[in-house]
Amino acid sequence: MPRREATIGRVMAQIAMVMNLDKCIGCHTCSVTCKQAWTNRQGTEYVWFNNVETLPGQGYPRRWEDQEKWKGGWERTRSGRLRLRAGSRLKRLGQVFANPELPGIDDYYQPWTYEYKNLIDAPAGNDLPVARPVSALTGEPVDTIEWGPNWDDNLGGAPQNAPLDPIVEKIRDEVGEKIRFEFEQSFMFYLPRVCEHCLNPACVSSCPSGAMYKREEDGIVLVDQDACRGWRMCVTGCPYKKVYFNHATGKAEKCTFCFPRIEVGLPTVCSETCVGRMRYLGVMLYDADKVADAAAVEDEHDLYPSQLECFLDPDDPAVAAAAKASGITHEWIEAARRSPVYDLIATYQVALPLHPEYRTMPMVWYVPPLSPVVEAVAASGHDGEDAGNLFGAIDAMRIPVEYLAELLTAGDTHPVEAVLRRMAAMRSYMRRVNLGEERDESIARAVGLTGTEMEDLFRLLAIAKYEDRYVVPSAARADADALAEAHPLDDTCPVGEVAPNRVLLNLSPTRRSA
């Protein structure tokens, strides 16, 4: 214990998200509600703080994962330090007049609307009035709509589009295998994406004005709209392409993690409205002094474990003490202890970071989908819930596993296999429970868990309720607690003598205990 204590540096708290990809039904409700809340304004027509991609596919903006082209994120120099992939600061200042790596509107898509008015205003005549598509940017008619924010939804046009997926290209080059995009042979899943609110944000680091910042209290990364000067370097800096340029105001905008909601203890809009209930929100405590080294480890495969090592166990009394010393309030430490995100990331280790090789230390993690494997097993006429069958399939189905590894672990297939095996084990363990059969501890042991843990994990992934999925401490309480801790109340009344007959406020017991 004392040895550990000495190694804890500055503790910081972060609101983080985990998405369970098996449960995403690709309904885009999150994207739409987010857009209604945040980007339904002029200048942000093409902007989706939350978007849902079908994989394999090109994504939004098109081929955003191709960092050879977009130069997002960090790279490790030969001396072992991190530098923005787009170049040194001096170089970037020299390129400020025209940014060579800025996605254009066509890389996102030309936003359009329809001349709906024509439908009701057209004069009576023999021809049925039509609503032509018009560009939302220029108002000019658009003859052919060629691309949209989810054009290749559900593998639409996959024979043409999906081979252009940068991960598909990479696997093809490295493994020499061909991913098939014929209807029956392809695998598919959805990837909802928001800003990762990274621990080592490349967007913040690219901003020449210093207008972008990471909040100390909850780690949310924001753009100060009054300080942004429109140099648009952050758009390039973010490897996930989650900073957008509002062309009407001339300022950068990004996913805010719905901070006005988070501050009062509510989940983000995308989480609140998620139809698949696949999102989890909670507090992660991490050692801020470890981040820089963890992001700069030499081997890309070590990035996932090194980020994992930055996280601190809130149940460890030494961590709680260090957190308190770093100014984190009791309510937040409590919330960290109940954090579903911590359980998925650290306790059960079933969630993985998105593209850790960008070295930004992202904080929206994903539980990889087992469904491509289950479906393949079932399609071949075997029992898709039998642990043995599933384990075998995970070993045999190289392409989905390689693909997920390129997405979530910088290409290292071992952690992905481990997670998938855990999920497969949970599946077959729980089937026995549901069928009233005897609990088979050996299934749990095969993936390094106990039966009880298996059931806890199942509850968290499958049936967790609102309060269990979203554990968000409020900022106001934190402010009040901090104030109270800074100025402990004594017994004297700050106004003066305590009045002889006190006036009681008419608060109901529920209100008082809340």
Binding site: A98, G104, R229
Partner: protein
């Protein structure tokens, strides 16, 4: 008239410049931006904008050197009038032509690309004519001067002295009335442009982000509850219609 043009107008323009910059900094930081149009069009911008800006930076530098450093100083270091002129005209010509070519591309782009045309601000409509005018007149004056069409006026013996006299608040406005017409117009356009800087996108030149070189990569900030709670409504994202 001479007094008004060369003794009063410059001060009015600088007063507007200072007042406007103060207004921007105090009340409209939200409007303080380059209004980049690069998301709409990149190919022309990537040629035009660096050409214009790098040209312009040298042009501005050239003006500072030409107007602020007295002839007696360069004489004292032994730079003859002829060498000085040769240097000024050659570097000035390169920078000036680059800036002019750059702005030419940028203006062409502004007319030709529909989305960029649509993104043109009202302030741009006012600012661009003066920017273009000042640049064209400046080039014209230089060409006329170095071809001898204006009797080889040495601006360092007239205009520069007038310019420096502005700083002592005792403008030698008579000196300017003797200057060639092209120079006079260039200066009038220039001072009008100065007045327009804070009210147009040109205000971005005052926030050249050199501090970027010296700060840590990641910026942390504490949440300021006052910022949202107690702040009076200011210009920002427009309301949803």
């Amino acid at each position: 008239m001479d007094l008004f043009l060369w003794g009063v107008l410059p001060y009015v323009s600088i007063a507007l410049l200072i007042a406007g910059t103060f207004w921007r900094a105090r009340y409209d930081r939200f409007g303080w931006t380059t209004h980049s149009t690069q998301v709409h069009e990149s190919r022309l911008l990537r040629i035009g904008s660096p050409l214009f800006h790098f040209g312009m930076l040298f042009v501005v530098l050239g003006h500072v050197v030409g107007l602020v450093i007295p002839q007696s100083w360069t004489d004292a270091v032994g730079v003859s009038d002829h060498t000085y002129h040769l240097l000024a005209v050659s570097t000035g010509a390169v920078a000036g032509v680059a800036a002019a070519a750059g702005i030419g591309i940028l203006v062409f782009r502004r007319f030709k690309v529909p989305a960029v045309r649509k993104a043109t601000l009202r302030s741009d409509r006012l600012m661009y004519p003066f920017l273009l005018g000042a640049m064209l007149l400046g080039l014209t004056a230089t060409i006329l001067n170095s071809t001898g069409a204006t009797d080889d006026c040495n601006y360092r013996e007239g205009i520069s002295i007038w310019f420096r006299s502005l700083f002592t608040f005792q403008p030698d406005y008579h000196l300017m009335s003797a200057a060639p017409l092209a120079f006079q117009l260039h200066i009038l356009f220039g001072f009008t442009l100065f007045a327009l800087i804070p009210y147009s996108r040109l205000v971005h030149m005052f926030s050249a982000p050199v501090q970027y070189l010296f700060r840590p990569y990641v910026v942390y900030r504490r949440r300021d509850p006052k910022l949202t709670a107690d702040r009076a409504a200011r210009r920002g994202w427009e309301r949803v219609r």
